[in-house]
C-alpha cells in the first residue's frame, strides 16, 4: 500500500487538476493489473490447485477412493522405488525420449531445411506437414490401430516384399517401437513447420554467398541454418519433450494399455493406470511428482545443450 501511495504522490504533479480519488485509482490500475484477476483466479483454481494437491497426495496413503487417506510420509516413494513396474516404466520413457526426441528433431530440421529452399512442390509439402497437428490423438491412434493390426496395411505392404510382419502392437519386441513410431509420425510434421518458420527468417543473401563459395547443402544446413536457429530449435525440442513425456499416456491408453506385460507402460501411463485403474492414489501421485521433476531436469538439460552459442 505504501508503494501505491508513493506512486500516487510522485505522479500527482502531472495531473494537478484531477480529483485525488480518481488519480489514485488510475495509479493502482497501472501498478496492479486488476483486470487480470479473474483469469489469475481461474487459472489458480483449475491448474495450480490440482498440481499442489498432487504434491500433497503423493505423501498420503490412499488405497482407494472410498478409504479415508492418512499421512504416509515417504512411504509412497519407497513403494514406487521398490516396484519393478516403475523401473520398467522409467526404462520405456527413457527409450521413448532418448530415441524418439533426437530422431524427431533432426528429421524435422532436415525437412524444414528442404522446405525453405523452396524446391518444386514445397507448397504441397507445407500443406501436408500441418496435417498431423490437426488430427486428434484418438483419431491418430485409431488410424494406426487399423494399419498395424496383423492383417492391416503395414503387413499388407510388407508381405509382397517377402517380409513377414507381426502383430506390431501385441508383440513385446515391437510394441514400444510402434508407439514411438506413432509419435514420430505426428510430431515430425509440426516440429518441421515450426522450425521452417524460423528458417524462413534467415537472410537469403548469406546463403547465396556461401553457395557461390562452393558450400553444399549439407554444410549450409548444419553450419549455417542450425546455429542460427539453434535457440528456437531448443524451444521446439522442449515442446516435443514435454509432449512425449506427458501426452504419450494417450497413445498408450488407446493402443496397448501398457502391454504386452509392461512393455509399453510409460511413466505418464503409469500415473493414469495407478489412479484410474488400480485406485492406488498415493502411488500414482508420487509418480506424478517424480515425472514433474524429470520434466524440469529435462527442460534444463535441453536448454543447456541447445543454448545459443554466442
Amino acid at each position: 500500500m505504501t508503494a501505491v501511495a508513493d506512486a500516487a504522490v510522485r505522479t500527482s504533479p502531472h495531473f494537478p487538476t484531477d480529483p485525488p480519488a480518481r488519480r489514485r485509482r488510475g495509479t493502482v490500475r497501472e501498478r496492479f493489473p486488476g483486470l487480470a484477476l479473474p483469469a489469475l483466479v481461474w487459472y489458480a483454481v483449475f491448474m495450480i490447485g490440482p498440481v499442489v494437491a498432487m504434491l500433497v497426495i503423493a505423501f498420503l496413503s490412499w488405497p482407494g477412493m472410498l478409504v479415508t487417506p492418512s499421512w504416509a510420509g515417504l512411504a509412497n516413494f519407497q513403494t514406487v522405488f521398490a516396484d519393478e513396474t516403475f523401473w520398467a516404466a522409467v526404462r520405456n520413457s527413457a527409450v521413448q525420449i532418448v530415441v524418439g526426441l533426437p530422431v524427431m528433431i533432426v528429421l524435422a530440421f532436415l525437412l524444414a531445411f528442404y522446405v525453405v529452399q523452396k524446391p518444386r512442390g514445397h507448397g504441397v509439402l507445407r500443406y501436408l506437414l500441418f496435417i498431423p497437428a490437426l488430427i486428434s490423438a484418438p483419431a491418430t491412434a485409431m488410424l494406426f490401430y487399423t494399419m498395424l493390426n496383423p492383417d492391416g496395411l503395414v503387413n499388407g505392404v510388407l508381405r509382397p516384399l517377402g517380409v513377414e510382419g507381426t502383430a506390431w502392437l501385441a508383440d513385446p519386441s515391437t510394441a514400444l517401437g510402434a508407439i514411438i513410431a506413432v509419435e514420430l509420425w505426428s510430431g515430425i510434421g509440426y516440429s518441421a513447420v515450426l522450425i521452417a518458420a524460423r528458417l524462413d527468417g534467415v537472410d537469403g543473401e548469406i546463403v547465396q554467398a556461401a553457395r557461390i563459395d562452393g558450400a553444399g547443402d549439407w554444410r549450409i544446413a548444419w553450419r549455417m541454418y542450425w546455429p542460427i536457429a539453434r535457440e528456437f530449435i531448443g524451444v521446439v525440442t522442449m515442446l516435443q519433450f514435454l509432449s512425449l513425456l506427458f501426452n504419450s499416456a494417450q497413445n498408450v491408453l488407446l493402443l496397448t494399455q501398457g502391454g504386452p506385460g509392461t512393455e509399453t507402460t510409460t511413466l505418464a501411463y503409469l500415473i493414469y493406470q495407478k489412479a484410474f485403474v488400480e485406485a492406488d492414489l498415493g502411488y500414482s501421485q508420487a509418480v506424478g511428482v517424480i515425472l514433474f521433476v524429470i520434466g524440469l531436469i529435462g527442460m534444463g538439460t535441453i536448454r543447456r545443450v541447445l543454448r545459443a552459442t554466442h
Binding site: A53, Y114, P138, Y145, N149, L194, A197, V235
Partner: protein
Amino acid sequence: MARRTTALPLRDRIGSLTSGTLAWLYAALLLVPLYFFVVSAFKSNEQIFESPLTLPTDWDLSNVTTAIRQADLGLAVANSAITTVAALALTLLLALPASFALARSTGRAGKVVEGVFALGFLIPSFAALFPTFLLAAALGLFHTRTFVVFLLPATALPLSVVILTSFMRTIPRELEEAASMDGATSLQVLRQVYLPICVPGIATVLLLNFLSFWNAYLYPLILIGPDTAQRTIQVALPTLKVDAGTDYGVLMAGTLVTLLPVYLVYSVLQKQMQRALLSGAVKG
C-alpha cells in the same frame, strides 16, 4: 542450383539428396495412411485386408451410418460442439481483459502475473488429472460437460494470454490516451480501441484453442465419462474399437466423422490456421 559442380565433396552431394528424399518420404508416409484411411471408410474388413490400397468398389455410406448409430456420433458431435464453443467463449472472456491489463501495466506486479502465466507452460496438468477429478467431484460437477467447459479455458490461458498480451503491446499508447481524454473507462477502451485492432490475435487464439478443445481426449474421458448423453466425439470414437472383431471399415468411417469439422475449418482458414499453429511455440 546451377552453380553446383561435380567438385563438391561427396558428403555434400549426399546431403542434398538426403534432405529431399527424407522430405518426400515423410510426405508419402503422411499421404499413404491418410489415403488408406479414407478408402477404408468405404470398405468391409475383407476388402481392407485383401486389397488395402485399391479404391472402394462403391462409395456407399453404410459404414458411416453404422458408425454414427453404433457410437451415437451425432450426439457426440453436438456435445463436442457445445463444449468447444462454450470453452472458447469463456477463454476469451478471461484472457482478453487479463492481456489488456498486462499489456498496459508498467509495475512489477504485472511482470509477476505475466511470469505466473508463462510458468503454466511447465505445469504438467496431465499428471494432476486425479486431483482435477477430485475438484470436479467437490464442485458437484463430476460427469458433466460443464466442468470440462470450466477446465479447458484454464489449460489454454497461459498461451492465450501470452499471445494476446504481445499483440496488445504493439498498440500505441497514444490511441488509448486519446480515448481516456474523452472520458472512456478501461472497459470501453478495451472494447472500442483494443478489440478491433486485435482481431488477428483473437483469431489466432480462437483457432489454436478450437483445435486443442475439439481434440481434447483425456480430460473429457475422465471427467465426463462414458455417458452417451454427455460424452464428446473424441471419447465416443475409440468405443468403435472392440477387443475381438473390430469392424475396421466402421472404425475408419467414425474417424472420418471426427475429422471433418477440423478439416473443414482448415480448408477454409488455411493461412490463419497455419499462422495460429505457428504461434504455438512463441515461448518456451
